[in-house]
Each structure stands twice: as structure tokens, then as C-alpha cells.
């Protein structure tokens, strides 16, 4: 016991010495930006991070890429805590929860760090870098269904995890669009299921949808894992159900095209999304914008962005800039884009 005490004392001594010996923050003047994705092992997030990294480096800023080990807000908070301790200058985060990150992001901002969200928004950030307007995404999804069913018929939604804020926002907006416009009166929305962005679960749900709704015409999957799993399953069993949604060209290249399960699909460029997030952080650090609605700034990429107000009913709680419109991939261009992302 005495030995333990002695050792503890020694430890405390070392701690104090080390604490005293430590200086203040970095003052070398170099900027460091960090991006925190939703989780490791998701190709979309990988591409987004690589865009962020490339854009930062082009501006002479060192970039840190952090993929949390689990798709949870908790894992992200742990990472962001460490980034604050490292005194980075800007953090871009794709939030796993609409509320949970607020405190840690606030303390980042209190420490003078610029914070933007991308992909999915959360309270506590200064601005949301929106890949494409929520309504616009929902609109192309509804129009895909309308087109693929020929104007009327049954369709079902296969989403990611039930907790994904961006997917939930798109699905909610799809409902609004269908209710508002009588053009879509012939569409029958039979089910919304969650494949948890997992292969096995997504395949399971697709199979159940096919079995439960013999008259099903279209499955729309606004998630890169879900659309691939659904399209492959439909192809495997030779069903004539069509699969619409949002997918990565490089993963979907074998199932997109005429006479294939997915005639066409949409997405935005994740690389560009990451780039714009880096530019937005720079704009904050450089004082080009304060993030207030109505402002506009020219990014280091030479594009002018207008800051528009938040849209809380669509899950966007911060002011936002819109990167672009959803882009359509079909048999004609998929090969070419598969090389890009």
C-alpha cells in the first residue's frame, strides 16, 4: 500500500511538472481544417472527405479527416472534443443527430473554431452546406416514381436507418409534394421500410416488399446502400419492379441503364460537397461571411454562394448555402461518372 501511495505521489508530480512545462496554443499561423464524417466505411463519406481534403490543401490549409468508429453522435462528440483540444481552426461535420452535437459544437465556437455542417444539419453549427435543397431532392424522387410507374401505381420507400435526419427530411418532403399536387393522385405509397444502411437488412426488406405487395411497381431508396441492395436483389430474382433513388455511380454502374433494375438515379457530387464545406470554413475564418441569411460570398473555388434562411420544418436549423441540384445518372453517362465518384 505504501508503495502504491508513493507511486501515486510520483504520478501526481509528473502530472504537475508536465502541466507546467506546457506552453500556450500553436502560434505558427498555419490553418488546420477538420472534417468529421458520419462513420467509417461509407463510400459517399469517403468521397466527401477527399474533396474536403483536396480543397483545403489547394488553399494551403492542412486537413484532418476523421471517420468515427460508430454511426452515433457519441462517437462524433469524442472526435470533436479531441479536435478542439488540438486547436484546429475549422470543423465541418456531417451530423449523426439533430441535437446531440449542439453543446460540443458550441464549445468549439467558444474556442474560436469555425463550424459548418454538411450532408446533415445539427444545432450548434454556423451554417449548413446543403448538398441540394430538400424540396428539390424530394421532387426528383417523386418525379422518378411518377415516371417509372407511368403516372399511377404502387411504390414503397426503402430508407437508411430510421434515425437518419436527412433521409427522414426527404421522405417527409416527398409526402408533402404528393399531397399538394393532384398530378400525383394516382400514386399509392404502400410502405416505408428501413434497411439500416446494411446489406443484409436492406435485402431482407426488399424481399418482404416484393412478397407483400405483388402489384408494387417502384421501390425508391434515397440511400446509397439501400438502392444498391434493392437493385441487386430485384435483378437476382428477376422481378420487374424498378428501383429509383439516390446512389453512387461507381457502385451502381452495373445496375443502371435501360432494361436494368434502375433506369436512372440521382445524386450530387460528394467531392464537390466536401470542397464547398472547406471553402465555407475559409470564408468564416477569413471574415468573408458571418453566416447571416442574405449575405453572399465568393468561394476560393470562384463560385458565389448566397446564404439563405434556415428551414426548420425540413430539419435545417441553420442558415444554408446550396451546393447544386441533384444530378441525373443514366445508361449514357454512368460509366463516365463511375470513374469520378
Amino acid at each position: 500500500m505504501k508503495k502504491i501511495l508513493a507511486l501515486l505521489l510520483a504520478l501526481v508530480l509528473v502530472l504537475t511538472l508536465a502541466a507546467c512545462g506546457n506552453g500556450g496554443p500553436d502560434d505558427d499561423g498555419d490553418l488546420t481544417f477538420a472534417i468529421v464524417t458520419k462513420s467509417a466505411g461509407n463510400p459517399f463519406m469517403e468521397r466527401m472527405a477527399s474533396g474536403f481534403e483536396a480543397a483545403s490543401e489547394r488553399m494551403g490549409i492542412s486537413a484532418v479527416v476523421q471517420h468515427p468508429s460508430l454511426i452515433t453522435a457519441e462517437a462524433q462528440i469524442e472526435v470533436i472534443n479531441a479536435l478542439i483540444a488540438q486547436e484546429v481552426d475549422g470543423i465541418a461535420v456531417a451530423a449523426n443527430d439533430a441535437e446531440a452535437l449542439a453543446t460540443v459544437l458550441q464549445s468549439a465556437r467558444d474556442a474560436g473554431i469555425a463550424v459548418v455542417t454538411l450532408d446533415s444539419d445539427t444545432a450548434g453549427s454556423q451554417m449548413f452546406v446543403n448538398q441540394a435543397g430538400v424540396r428539390e431532392v424530394a421532387q426528383v424522387l417523386v418525379d422518378s416514381v411518377y415516371d417509372m410507374t407511368g403516372g399511377s401505381g404502387q411504390f414503397a420507400v426503402l430508407s437508411a436507418t430510421a434515425l437518419a435526419t436527412n433521409q427522414n427530411a426527404w421522405i417527409a418532403a416527398m409526402g408533402e409534394i404528393i399531397d399538394e399536387d393532384t398530378r400525383y393522385a394516382g400514386l399509392e405509397w404502400v410502405a416505408t421500410v428501413f434497411g439500416d444502411d446494411e446489406w443484409q437488412a436492406s435485402t431482407d426488406e426488399t424481399s418482404s416488399l416484393l412478397a407483400s405487395f405483388p402489384d408494387l411497381e417502384v421501390i425508391v431508396a434515397p440511400t446509397t446502400v439501400g438502392i444498391l441492395a434493392a437493385a441487386q436483389y430485384v435483378q437476382l430474382v428477376g422481378s420487374d419492379v424498378l428501383v429509383a433513388g439516390l446512389g453512387l455511380p461507381s457502385e451502381m454502374v452495373d445496375v443502371v441503364g435501360p432494361d436494368l433494375p434502375t433506369p436512372y438515379m440521382y445524386l450530387w457530387n460528394p467531392v464537390e460537397l466536401g470542397e464547398v464545406a472547406a471553402y465555407a470554413l475559409y470564408a468564416f475564418v477569413n471574415g468573408d461571411t458571418t453566416g447571416a441569411a442574405g449575405e453572399s460570398f465568393v468561394s476560393q473555388g470562384g463560385v458565389t454562394f448566397n446564404v439563405i434562411p434556415a428551414a426548420p420544418d425540413l430539419g435545417i436549423v441553420n442558415t444554408q448555402i446550396i451546393v447544386g441540384l441533384p444530378f441525373r445518372f443514366d445508361g449514357d453517362n454512368i460509366e463516365e461518372w463511375a470513374e469520378v465518384f
Partner: protein, 328 residues
């Protein structure tokens, strides 16, 4: 004849079969699309990995061990062989399968070595390797997926194809079940596994080389996980680094429902098969019956609890009856 029948009815496997039939009947009643060839084949194929790995876990549990690293081993071996296909080193489907099995066997051997030679408790050893193998999967793949077009077509055709109307994967599972059934029932190794699990000291005294048996069983379990890795990647036509996360829970649950004791020495191949099938059918049944998906986990948890508790009650009942009979 009557005694024979009573013995059959009182067996655990029989009551499990009844439950399975009852669940099947309810689902069928709610949704006639359930009992179709396509639907059954799709359930079997989608859960073939879990159902197959339950046999490996059975042998491990019979020894009184446990292996929670199988999900990670599955992902690692599947990813390793997919990467070699992408890089053009593996060009045939058979090699892909064999390589994946080999990687799995090495993983299993490592786990077995730490358990048998390092004398580390199985749950701890496999917990550590669960982290290590999963981490290595992300590491070797550099966080990327391996997409369909990088995989060997022959490999995909086999993994996704079927023979005589039944998926090839289901045939593989069937073959594994027959193999394990034969080994456990009719070979010396099988008897030794039961002996080690039910009474390690006695087994040691009777000259069984326990360490060697442990190594064999864990290596075999790893090899099965490797096989499942190749099947997984082939079936879903993509290799992802988060594949089969948490699958070990389903596998252990299948064994537990199937009447395998975590204490070792108790459990049968048919029981495990029924346990695995029950989990597979339950997982699919909710969405087929149009019941809210969010009930799924709560239902599975209740089924596990009910299964183990009813098992205890049945065992007690049987013990009491045999005691009564003896008194008479």
C-alpha cells in the same frame, strides 16, 4: 411404440419445431406470399451465413468456450479475397473461396492459440480479436468498398446462382450441417468434444488432448467464418468493411434458442438448425405481416428469454418425473 413417441415429443427439438411451424402458420395466414419457393429460398439465402456459422459456434460452445470474433473474421476474410480479386491476383471463383476459407482458418487458429496455449478465457480472447480483425478489415481496405465490377464473374455467378431450384449457398450450408452432424455423432473427435465440454477434468484424466481439440474446433470455426465471408461478398456482390457487425449475437442466440448450453457439453445439430431457422423466419415475418419494424428486436429478445426459461422448466419437470417414477 408409445414410449418411443413420448420420448420424441418430450425432446426439445420437437417443441422448437412446433414453435417454428406455429410461427410459419401465423405468417402464412397473414400473408400468403410467405410459403412460396422464392420467399423461402430468399430467407434461407439471406440468413445462410448466420445459420451455417451456428454449427461452428455449436462446437465451440460444446467445449464450454465462446467465440464472438466470427463476425469480424467473416468481414476480414471476405474483404481480403475481394481485394485480391480487385487487384487481379485471384482470377477464379474457387480460389476466391479457398483463399477466404484459409484466411478465416488462420484467424480461428490465432483465437484458438491464445485460448488453448495462452490460457486466456474464450470471451476475452475473442473479444480482443473481434476488435483486431474488424480494425484490420478497415485497414487493408483503406476504408473503401470493393464493388461488383471488381469481382470475378464466375465467383459471382456461383454465389448468386442456384442448382435444382435451390441457391448454391443453401446447398453449402446443407453440406456443412451434414458434415458437422456426422463429426459430432459418429467420430472420435465428436465424442471427445462432448467429453471435454461436459467434464474437462475427467477428459484430461482419460488422456484427451484438450488443447489440440480446442485448436481444431476454433480453427474450424474460423474456417467456416471465412467460408461465410466468401459467401457474403459473393451473395451481395460487394465487399464492405462493416459487414456482419453484430452477427455473432444472432449466431449465439440461434444456439441458445436451439438448446445449446453455454456451460458446455450440451447441444445438438438439429436444435441449432431449428434455432437458426426460427431467428431467420422471425426477422422476416414482421415485415411480411406488415407489423412495424421497430418491434423486431423486442420480439427477438422475448423469444430468447422464453426459450431458455421454458427449457429450464422442461428440464426440471423431466427431472421431477423421473424421480417420481423411481420412487414408485
Amino acid at each position: 411404440m408409445k414410449a418411443h413417441l413420448r420420448k420424441l415429443v418430450s425432446r426439445r427439438e420437437f417443441s422448437l419445431l412446433l414453435v417454428l411451424v406455429a410461427v410459419g402458420a401465423i405468417v402464412q395466414w397473414q400473408n400468403p406470399a410467405f410459403l412460396t419457393m422464392g420467399q423461402i429460398d430468399s430467407i434461407l439465402r439471406n440468413y445462410s451465413f448466420m445459420i451455417m456459422l451456428a454449427t461452428g459456434m455449436l462446437m465451440v460452445l460444446l467445449l464450454g468456450g465462446i467465440d464472438i470474433s466470427v463476425g469480424s473474421t467473416l468481414a476480414l476474410s471476405g474483404m481480403a479475397s475481394a481485394l485480391l480479386m480487385r487487384d487481379g491476383i485471384i482470377t477464379s471463383g474457387l480460389t476466391a473461396y479457398l483463399f477466404s476459407v484459409a484466411v478465416g482458418a488462420v484467424c480461428g487458429l490465432l483465437v484458438g492459440l491464445v485460448i488453448a496455449k495462452g490460457k486466456v478465457l474464450p470471451i476475452i480472447a475473442s473479444l480482443g480479436f473481434m476488435y483486431v480483425f474488424r480494425g484490420m478489415t478497415f485497414f487493408i481496405s483503406d476504408n473503401q468498398w470493393v464493388g461488383t465490377r471488381f469481382l470475378v464473374p464466375e465467383y459471382l455467378d456461383f454465389s448468386r446462382g442456384s442448382t435444382l431450384g435451390i441457391s448454391n449457398l443453401v446447398w453449402i450450408v446443407l453440406a456443412v450441417y451434414i458434415l458437422v452432424f456426422i463429426v459430432l455423432r459418429w467420430t472420435k473427435l465428436g465424442r471427445q468434444i462432448y467429453a471435454v465440454g461436459s467434464n474437462p477434468e475427467a477428459a484430461l484424466v482419460s488422456g484427451i488432448r484438450i488443447d489440440r481439440i480446442k485448436l481444431i474446433v476454433y480453427t474450424f470455426n474460423g474456417a467456416l467464418a471465412g467460408l461465410a465471408g466468401a459467401m457474403f461478398v459473393g451473395s451481395f456482390a460487394s465487399a464492405m468493411n462493416n459487414s456482419a457487425m453484430g452477427m455473432e449475437l444472432d449466431i449465439i442466440a440461434a444456439c441458445v434458442i436451439g438448446g445449446v448450453s453455454l456451460g458446455g457439453g450440451q447441444g445438438s445439430v438439429p436444435g441449432v438448425l431449428l434455432g437458426g431457422l426460427l431467428i431467420a423466419v422471425l426477422a422476416r415475418s414482421l415485415s411480411l405481416m406488415g407489423i412495424d419494424q421497430f418491434w423486431q428486436q423486442a420480439l427477438l429478445g422475448s423469444v430468447i428469454l422464453l426459450a431458455v426459461i421454458s427449457n429450464v422448466i422442461m428440464t426440471r419437470h423431466a427431472a421431477r418425473r423421473s424421480l417420481e417414477r423411481r420412487e414408485i
